[in-house]
């Protein structure tokens, strides 16, 4: 059970979260695939930005929300500015609410896929390309996407 807890549970937990969208884990798509699009359905996606534990970077979404049609790909971006004289390395961790929407929120391109390096006083515009899949429950009309930036030591 010790081995189960340390070696088996964490990877299973990751896979489980990816498959089910549990805990707001967002999914990923590798190509711009075609979805069946219903033009009359609209979903509001709001963007949030947070930093953890004194992360010395100003971090905010370029636009705070947008109206999307499920099945279509959209591009937006986040802006981050390093206010220090040092190189700062950070990792953004995404989360989607409500959790039932997480499974259908797929990203083609995201700054959260890699760690980000900020040179002193550098301002970066980081893009995000995503789609909300049409299988999303009809009752869900608002989705929140939040990023939390953590500082990495190296």
């Amino acid at each position: 059970m010790f081995v189960f807890a340390v070696v088996i549970m964490p990877p299973i937990y990751d896979v489980f979260c990816e498959i089910t969208g549990f805990n707001g884990t967002t999914g990923r798509v590798d190509t711009e695939q075609e979805y069946e699009v219903k033009e009359d359905r609209k979903v509001d996606v709001s963007f949030f930005a947070m930093t953890m534990g004194g992360f010395p970077v100003q971090f905010k979404p370029k636009i705070s929300s947008m109206e999307v049609v499920p099945g279509k790909f959209y591009t937006t971006s986040y802006i981050a500015k390093n206010n220090t004289d040092q190189v700062v390395i950070g990792q953004a961790v995404p989360s989607v609410a409500p959790t039932d929407a997480a499974l259908y929120f797929k990203k083609l391109e995201c700054f959260c896929f890699n760690r980000q390096v900020f040179q002193p006083h550098e301002e970066l515009e980081m893009t995000l390309r995503f789609v909300v899949e049409p299988e999303l429950d009809e009752r869900i009309q608002d989705i929140s996407l939040s990023y939390n930036f953590f500082k990495l030591d190296k």
Binding site: M1, A5, M9, Y13, D14, T99, F150, L152
Partner: protein, 535 residues
């Protein structure tokens, strides 16, 4: 083991003299006694911490201590009571009683038994020493959620981690020993379904311990590597997840609460038939109910985490699975009531504790059901309602059964009878004060008072004062308890081998004070049948 060598003609040879007896002993009765005294001293230390908590909460505002120290008190109170008091007390009862109940001369692995006890004082010492370290004791609650316990914890947390490792080793060895004893050392003529319920519940508890404690060890090991060796199991920055900490912790934590209550069910299933002078109602359903509770305990853990943002399907599953546990638990409660139904009941002290156990534990069970309702839990979560709930199941549940067991088997352990009049005074004192202590906490919780805070809004002042006064009275009742037990050991009147008229069980066939080595010959089938719990 001390199997007779040829030169031994005296087969009643007793223990060694002096202090070394207790350090070197491999005798199940000695080790049981050590466990019980250790648990009792931890109960007093944990109780003293609780007195500090209740003193600070007597009035709104910060009177006595810094909030950080208050948090250390709540954390250490929980850890000491769970790992230092309740669990060792049950292992002590198991050590004392299981060999006598199954007609075995001793535990199957006596040297390991010695070791598993003697780890405990060191683990407890390490845990308590954190109070005197720079940065103070752990202050993140007994559930030690990451990142509170990883990124933001004091350095003493590493000592806490090793103490938990040691406590885990001790519990696992105790559990292995009990399984080996029950399966291999049982009297040859005793079938599994002849076993007394305390033995059954401990056998099942042992499997829970072996399943759950290594998960706890894994959790704290991951904390250790996160803190010191640069891993990120619970650190989102490195790809880990603090919510995963809660999943793994509660995957241990929920079986753990049944580890602390199943042996209690066993104790109560001995006491109620004795004083109702009837065989236990539904013996086999008791066994199956215990086994189903144990199984279900592994698949309901996330009901502690309804507010972590689970999908609706997850909330529903964990809610229904949690409700399901009420079924086997209800079977047990109804079996106890049916055992009393039309029995020739008398109300000696152990019976008073047992009946109040049934009543008060059921209250704790009901508040547990309320908490298990996912939408309602959104309001109850992390309030004093939760505190009231788990104190009703752990204090008036687990601890109550330990006290009941102490009074019930004390004559067998010491050969002497305790002072019945004083014991009754103690019972009424404790049972009234414990309700004054914990019942108002339900109201505080429903009104919105959060748990683990040193200060609170003014509207909570009255109930907190009532609760604190009850707490001081309840704490003081243990002075009387200590006196009653010591008085029994020193001055109690000698008793017969079966001091309770309706008592059944192999342990009552032994001498009034059980010999140092009992059942050198296994009991006969006739004796086992005559002493069995079913009709």
């Amino acid at each position: 083991m001390t199997t007779a060598t040829a030169s031994h003609d005296d087969h009643h040879h007793g223990p060694e003299k002096g202090l070394m007896r207790w350090i070197k002993t491999t005798n199940h009765k000695d080790i049981g006694t050590l466990y019980l005294w250790f648990a009792f001293s931890m109960l007093l230390i944990g109780g003293a911490l609780a007195m500090g908590i209740r003193m600070e909460l007597l009035q709104p505002g910060l009177q006595l201590m810094e909030p950080q120290f208050f948090n250390q008190l709540t954390t250490m109170h929980g850890l000491i009571m769970v790992f230092g008091a309740i669990m060792p007390a049950f292992v002590g009862l198991g050590n004392w009683l299981i060999p006598m109940m199954i007609g075995a001369p001793d535990m199957a692995l006596p040297r390991m038994n010695n070791w598993s006890f003697w780890i405990l004082p060191f683990a407890g010492g390490i845990l308590l020493s954190t109070f005197f370290m720079e940065g103070g004791a752990p202050a993140f609650g007994w559930t030690f959620y990451a990142p509170l316990s990883t990124t933001f914890a004091p350095d003493s947390t590493d000592f806490f981690i090793f103490a938990v490792h040691l406590l885990g080793f001790s519990s696992i060895m105790g559990a292995i020993n009990i399984i080996a004893t029950v399966l291999n050392m049982r009297a040859p003529d005793m079938k599994l379904m002849d076993m007394p319920l305390f033995v059954w519940t401990w056998l099942i508890t042992s499997f829970l311990l072996i399943g759950a404690m290594p998960v706890l060890a894994g959790t704290v090991t991951m904390m250790l590597t996160d803190r010191n060796f640069g891993t990120s199991f619970f650190d989102a920055a490195g790809g880990g997840d603090p919510v995963m900490f809660q999943h793994i912790f509660w995957f241990f934590g929920h079986p753990e609460v049944y580890i602390m209550i199943l042996p209690a069910f066993g104790v109560i299933s001995h006491i109620i038939p004795t004083f109702a002078r009837k065989p236990l109602f539904g013996y086999s359903s008791m066994v199956y109910a215990t086994a189903s509770i144990a199984f279900l305990s592994y698949i309901v853990w996330a009901h502690h985490m309804f507010l972590t943002g689970m999908p609706v399907a997850g909330e529903l599953y964990f809610m229904y699975a949690t409700m399901l546990i009420a079924v086997p638990t209800g079977v047990k409660v109804f079996n106890w009531i049916s055992t009393m139904w039309r029995g020739s009941m008398t109300f000696e002290t152990p019976m008073l504790w047992a009946i109040s156990f049934v009543f008060l534990f059921t209250i704790g069970g009901f508040s547990g059901l309320m908490l298990g309702i996912a939408p309602a839990d959104i309001q109850y979560h992390d309030t004093y309602f939760v505190v009231a709930h788990f104190h009703y199941v752990l204090v008036t549940g687990a601890l109550w059964s330990i006290i009941a067991a102490t009074f019930y088997w004390l004559p067998k352990w010491t050969g002497r009878m305790y002072n019945e009049g004083l014991a009754k005074v103690h019972f009424w004192w404790a049972v009234i004060s414990v309700n004054v202590l914990f019942f108002p906490q339900h109201f505080l919780g429903l009104a919105g008072m959060p748990r683990r805070i040193p200060d609170y809004s003014l509207q909570f002042a009255d109930f907190n004062m009532i609760s604190s006064v009850g707490g001081f009275a309840f704490g003081a009742s243990f002075i009387l308890f200590t006196y009653i037990v010591v008085d029994c050991i020193r001055n109690g009147k000698p008793t017969t081998s079966r001091p309770w008229e309706g008592a059944k069980g192999l342990e009552w066939t032994l001498a009034p004070k059980a010999d140092y080595h009992s059942f050198n010959k296994p009991p006969s089938r006739e004796l086992i049948e005559a002493e069995s719990q079913h009709s």
